[in-house]
Amino acid sequence: MKRSVSNALSLTVVTCIVLGVSLLLIAMVGSSIPSSLSSFIRGIVGSTYSIGEVLVRATPLMLAALGVSIGFRTGFINIGAEGQIYLGAIAITWLGMTFPSLPPILMIFFAILVGFLAGGVWSVIPGILKAKFGLSEIINTIMLNYIAINLVGILVRTSLKDPSYPYPMSPILPPASYFPMLLLPTRLHAGFLLALICAVLVYLLMFRSSTGFCMRAVGLNKRASMCSGISVKSHMVLSALLSGGLAGLAGVSEIAGLHHRLIEGISPSYGYLAIVVSLLGKNHPFWIILSSLGIAALQVGSMAMQRSSGVPTSIASIIMGLLVIMILARKQFFGYREV
């Protein structure tokens, strides 16, 4: 009772502070507050298209955050979702260009498979380095991000380049590799369903299966896990594989659902946002669905605000940073310290 009251109170205070700072920032850039707010809200729920946009944005965030959460639960701090997204994107592009005549069902199946594996491999490398040699996965996953991003830069200028265009990008992939659209004329595609299915699968794996139990135990106390006969190393590597694999799927989904070709900057920091989404979602798949929708709405709404009221989208980033700090600090500020 006491806890729930203080919980509600703290959330209210956080909301008020965030709202207050947002209004202050909007006023500072000299825009009208009512019209900014209304364009923000309309940008999110104003039309079917805008709702679709929120779901489209939430898709890669959700997939990558699910991956990040598996890592966090197992004690594998995966900061490399960004790079793993790019690897997934490279994989589906390579598949589409190499086997353009595959029928859609096989194409989609293999795209998901190679995308998952490519992202997984990118994460398993630091996973093995950590499990076997104790090297910091935090540093290594960040470094692999740089490598992955620049690898895409090289590939779209060389082997995956579209020869008919002067720009650094791949050719349009065969339609067999496209995800079905769900709600025309919006851009909502089946990747969103894929993300929801993955959330349920991650839940079953982490909270219902014995493998997930072992992974969580390893994340909370390696030594006790070892003394109980749980293999710390293999569960660590497995969690790295799944973690990167899900981020890889985010890359697949962006190409198969939206861009249909590989371009540079295909992920505007989705991999880093995924960490935020996962933290806000308490590393739990069902909360991650909510938090990815929330962050997506914030971004989509702020873009609408920029278009119609001239408020820069940077405000959204400021708000997001503030929100994360406040939510993480909430427990300490509101005294329900868990003894």
Binding site: S209, S210, N221, R223, A224, C227, S228, G229, V339
Partner: protein, 503 residues
């Protein structure tokens, strides 16, 4: 007027009362015992006094002045110091660095370490706390580390010292010298509160005793005016029977556990050879830190066996991992339950699942059978009388004794063939200790091979069929338990004396 008065202290965790209207009065220059079973609320009360928890109700006065203690820092300012059961030292720093940690020492930020060392030396000599200030903490024995903790508290000019289960980790000799130190402190005018459940210690050391049971104060007596029977009555609420160990004929036609010259890769222990037939308890006696833990880890497979062989009923085990050995019926009670045995942020059910997630009972096609797990947990809670608010609370919030009971429930369940019990009753109260001993004897009559590693000689003598003495990583002798044991000889072996039986 008493020096410290804690009046009507209330504290509840998750709606379960840990302290209810508890009163405590401590005078100047008094050694005061806080006696009670595990989960009686002793540590909670002291954590309130030391500012780690906030009381839900009640007041604390020092020398008649009402004080608010909101953090350990406040407590230190009020000249209250606490030595925790689990020490809070940094192993990679020296004794004097540990003692001055967080303080502005003379010459700060360029600390005059020699001067500080000298001060600490003087302080430790004054109270007979022999410790070298320049030694690394990692090189000290447990008893010496405890002294460092006491000096640390005295260095902060504490008038009132709280010691949580100070004797739980000490050898008999170390306990003696600790008591001398405490008496010295009393003579210098300090007040001491010791949290304990050892009645004998309480009677020999303290001036007054406050007894807690189930979060309530059930007694406040002068040591001179009480006796062992009355205290145990107050504390347990029932009379205890001393256990009588029945002699068992060896009726099991298995070979049991056979250990031949095993050694680890770092050669920190071994070579060790030992026979542990079924239906036998082999006690491993020895002063702490003579390789007992490493020996236990070799047996379970946490450490790799580099040389030698280990067989159970003729089957070679030395190349098997922890998982396979457990599957063959190994149970392990570690002496470090927080690190080795429990996942503190998981609940009781999941902690029970740690060794069972593979078993048919709880694992249906790789999914956890949650209903069955819940049933098993409820059974364990009932069988071992584990006190807990709910099965879903993290085990972090269980008291030490209840945590240990949970581990027993997990490790000794089912068909265990080999039990490796490392200090299984350390930090447990009389009632729980009795339960543990009963369980071990029960396993023995069911034909388990039990290895009991303990620094509590009483326990070894009470339970063991044979007693092996460990010294510097090897077993120096195995004493058959026929009739009375030559305690002098045993003591000499433990001390590493080269004396032989007939010498």
């Amino acid at each position: 007027m008493a020096f410290l008065e804690m009046i009507d202290i209330d504290k509840a965790f998750f709606g379960k009362s840990a302290n209810s209207k508890v009163n405590l009065y401590v005078d100047h220059g008094e050694i005061h015992a806080l006696l009670g079973e595990n989960g009686a609320g002793k540590t909670t009360l002291m954590n309130i006094l030391y500012g780690i928890y906030q009381a839900d109700g009640g007041s604390i006065t020092l020398d008649g002045v009402l004080v608010q203690i909101k953090s350990p820092k406040d407590a230190i300012n009020h000249k209250i110091g606490m030595v925790h059961q689990h020490f809070t030292l940094v192993p990679t720093l020296t004794v004097s660095e540990n003692i001055t940690l967080g303080l502005k020492s003379p010459g700060y930020p360029f600390v005059k370490r020699k001067q500080v060392d000298e001060e600490i030396r003087l302080l430790s000599e004054r109270y007979n706390l022999a410790v070298d200030p320049t030694a690394l903490v990692s090189s000290l024995s447990v008893g010496q580390q405890q002294r460092v903790e006491i000096i640390k508290v005295l260095y902060r000019e504490a008038q009132l010292l709280i010691l949580d289960e100070p004797t739980a980790v000490l050898t008999p000799q170390e306990v003696e010298s600790l008591f001398d130190i405490l008496k010295r402190l009393r003579a210098e005018g300090h007040s001491v509160i010791i949290i304990t459940h050892h009645i004998a210690e309480v009677l020999s050391l303290t001036d007054r005793i406050t007894v807690l049971r189930g979060g309530l104060k059930v007694g406040d007596v002068k040591t001179k005016e009480t006796n062992e029977a009355e205290l145990s009555q107050l504390m347990v609420g029932r009379r205890l029977n001393r256990m009588i160990r029945a002699k068992l004929p060896c009726t099991f036609d298995r070979e049991g556990l056979s250990i031949t010259a095993i050694q680890d890769a770092q050669e920190s222990v071994g070579p060790i050879s030992l026979e542990v037939p079924p239906g036998r308890i082999i006690g491993i006696a020895g002063v702490d830190g003579n390789g007992q833990k490493a020996f236990a880890e070799l047996l379970l497979g946490i450490r790799k066996i580099k040389e030698g062989s280990l067989t159970l009923d003729g089957k070679n085990l030395e190349h098997l991992g922890v998982k396979q050995r457990r599957a063959l019926g190994f149970g392990y009670i570690s002496d470090d339950r927080l690190l080795d045995s429990l996942v503190l942020d998981m609940d009781m059910q999941e902690n029970l699942l740690l060794t069972r997630y593979r078993g048919q009972e709880c694992n249906h096609h790789h999914f956890i059978a949650r209903k069955k797990l819940r049933e098993l947990t409820e059974q364990a809670v009932k069988k071992y009388a584990i006190k807990s608010g709910s099965l879903e609370h993290p085990v972090r919030y269980l008291s030490g004794g209840n945590q240990q009971k949970l581990i027993l429930a997990r490790e000794l369940a089912g068909n265990v063939k080999v039990v490796i019990a490392c200090q299984p009753t350390r930090g447990l109260d009389v009632g729980s200790t009795e339960d543990v001993h009963k369980t071990l004897l029960e396993l023995r009559s069911q034909g388990s091979s039990v290895i009991l590693i303990s620094s509590d000689l009483e326990e070894i003598l009470d339970l063991s069929d044979n007693i092996a003495v460990m010294y510097r990583g090897t077993i120096v002798d195995v004493i058959e338990r026929e009739g009375d044991v030559d305690l002098t000889y045993l003591g000499l072996l433990m001390a590493g004396s080269p004396a032989r039986r007939n010498a």
